[in-house]
Symmetry: C2
Subunit: 329 residues, 2 copies
């Protein structure tokens, strides 16, 4: 083992709405330790950022303090929003890593350490779009696979509460879309008539999920406001059990997201069918998206591993917070 | 005044999920009295239908009892669902008034009166659809304007929690769509991030509403899951105040509903632009839909007055519950 690998060189924080994940990284970006906390910014009383930071990272900072300097700290996500610890104003598309580095805002923690907060990205226009945290993951994907950002551009999907689809070229985020798929699913399941006939299933019902995807793809032209009602009517007509309805609705919504994305691509003389893209997100959700993408003819959509920590490391290195050269593979 | 006008001949009930509206009708269908109650089927403890019926209609039945027979009673809406007073199984499309009459199911109230419950309508297929109550309103519209059902077919919109759009020809409901527009709006406003930056406006903001409609029409190709996020991002970028956001979102969702309907029409070589249609619903909501329809080039969409009571009367007359001939205007 190389000595530099095992020497902590950076604390990297993925600090979002509902959770805080902390990584202790070596000088070459290797993950030496991790911590997870429910201290997302929505779960914190105002002004308690310092306490959450101390609870999560204090021991690392104590253990690895040197005479020269404390460990540098970088953070991305909603921690940089107006409701966060310090606001790091959005940088605008097209946004490269240098723009993100230039937009870093620091906040001094109680113990004197400076926390470097990565800005989010804003796209202006008729349909303005914002991201916070995903930009860092996207640059993590580019760090893992540099050819993504150069060879004719890449499409990167980040499934979730607010799913993002980013078009990347020349190592910059050119533009992106946000689909409120996850949050709309939860709102409809928990707060509409559709939830009343649903029953929690013992496991994921792939068949019901695919049926939803296919319905959106083949019969979704009236739009999602029309098709979602079939979650109920297929139940009323004995074609979908209560246990199948959540997965059917999930398939419908993801199917409509991909239908919309495909329409965007079609207007650019492209299509999901045959396309190569990358996914970033948790494994179960990426698996769902891969299954849905396959129904649209897209069979090359691997998940990028460790995009978050690689992105944080890459931006920190570019900002000079760690001395090692940026790893490109 | 004609004597027949003032003689009560029918009690007609519009008994839905959240309310019960009762009409005392004359032999010619004129409305002699009305009662409204919050005793919708969702607000009733199991088995309390009789009590709600008695509280709402008991005085009418007492006052107008004759030696010959009590006043006939007809009811439409969710009262005929599996969760209602008695289940009146759906009749299938294409559904005319005679099919509805044949599908009437009766339930005997505690005081011995028979309540005649009109069935809902079911459309089978990949996207099954159901309605309960709207079928009666649609036949009310045809009673008001018989040419609607014959001259090449008509399109009738019923805005609401679950908006319906019905294609009517040869005096039959041929097929219909359900858009969960109203319920999705409420779920997103009350249970998603979009509601967090909203503030209740003092009045309807027409400009914000139209902006939403136009965004759905002109930039909605990625679908409603994508465009709704702009409710937030237009706020973040200072283009939409908190007070404007609810009306903008309302315009977006109604705009997507009409975009979807227009897509259905386009596939039949028709379009909303230049189309003549009818609306049934409360005045404020129909006004919103008319404003939105105008943005799609449809400028002929009057509201049908008294569709519910006219429909109940028409079906009752067809069922022989009232002796007078069906009024056609």
């Amino acid at each position: 083992m190389n000595a530099s690998v095992s020497t902590p060189a950076l604390i990297a924080l993925d600090w979002g709405t509902t959770s805080l994940r902390a990584y202790l990284l070596g000088a070459d970006g290797a993950v030496l330790d991790t911590r997870a906390s429910p201290a997302g910014i929505m779960n914190l009383p105002a002004g308690r950022f310092d306490q959450a930071f101390e609870e999560t990272c204090g021991a690392w900072l104590d253990a690895h303090a040197t005479l020269a300097a404390p460990l540098p700290v970088i953070a991305a996500g909603m921690v940089g929003s107006a409701q966060g610890w310090v606001e790091a104003p959005y940088v605008e598309t097209p946004a490269g890593a240098d723009a993100l580095v230039a937009g870093i805002v620091t906040v001094k923690a109680a113990r004197g350490v400076e926390v470097h907060v990565v800005p989010g990205v804003l796209e202006r226009g008729v349909l303005p779009n914002v991201m916070r945290g995903e930009e860092t993951q996207i640059f993590g994907a580019l760090a893992s696979e540099p050819s993504l950002g150069t060879s004719g551009g890449a499409l990167i999907g980040l499934p979730g509460t607010h799913a993002k689809w980013a078009f990347v070229s020349d190592e910059r985020i050119e533009r992106f879309y946000t689909f409120m798929t996850g949050e709309t699913f939860a709102a409809l399941r928990d707060h509409s008539i559709l939830g009343r006939t649903m029953q929690p299933g013992a496991s994921h019902d792939e068949q019901a999920f695919i049926r939803g995807v296919d319905t959106a793809r083949d019969a979704g032209h009236a739009g999602v406001l029309a098709t979602i009602f079939t979650t109920r009517t297929l139940g009323l007509t004995g074609q979908l059990t209560g246990e199948q309805q959540p997965d059917y609705l999930s398939g419908l919504l993801i199917g409509h997201e991909l239908r919309g994305l495909n329409e965007v691509l079609t207007r650019e003389r492209s299509a999901l069918a045959g396309k190569t893209l990358r996914l970033i997100g948790n494994d179960a959700l990426c698996d769902r998206y891969r299954a849905a993408l396959a129904r649209f003819g897209c069979h090359d959509a691997p998940t990028v591993a460790q995009a978050t920590e690689r992105g944080l490391y890459r931006i920190a290195a570019r900002a000079g917070l760690v001395a090692a050269p940026v790893r490109t593979a």
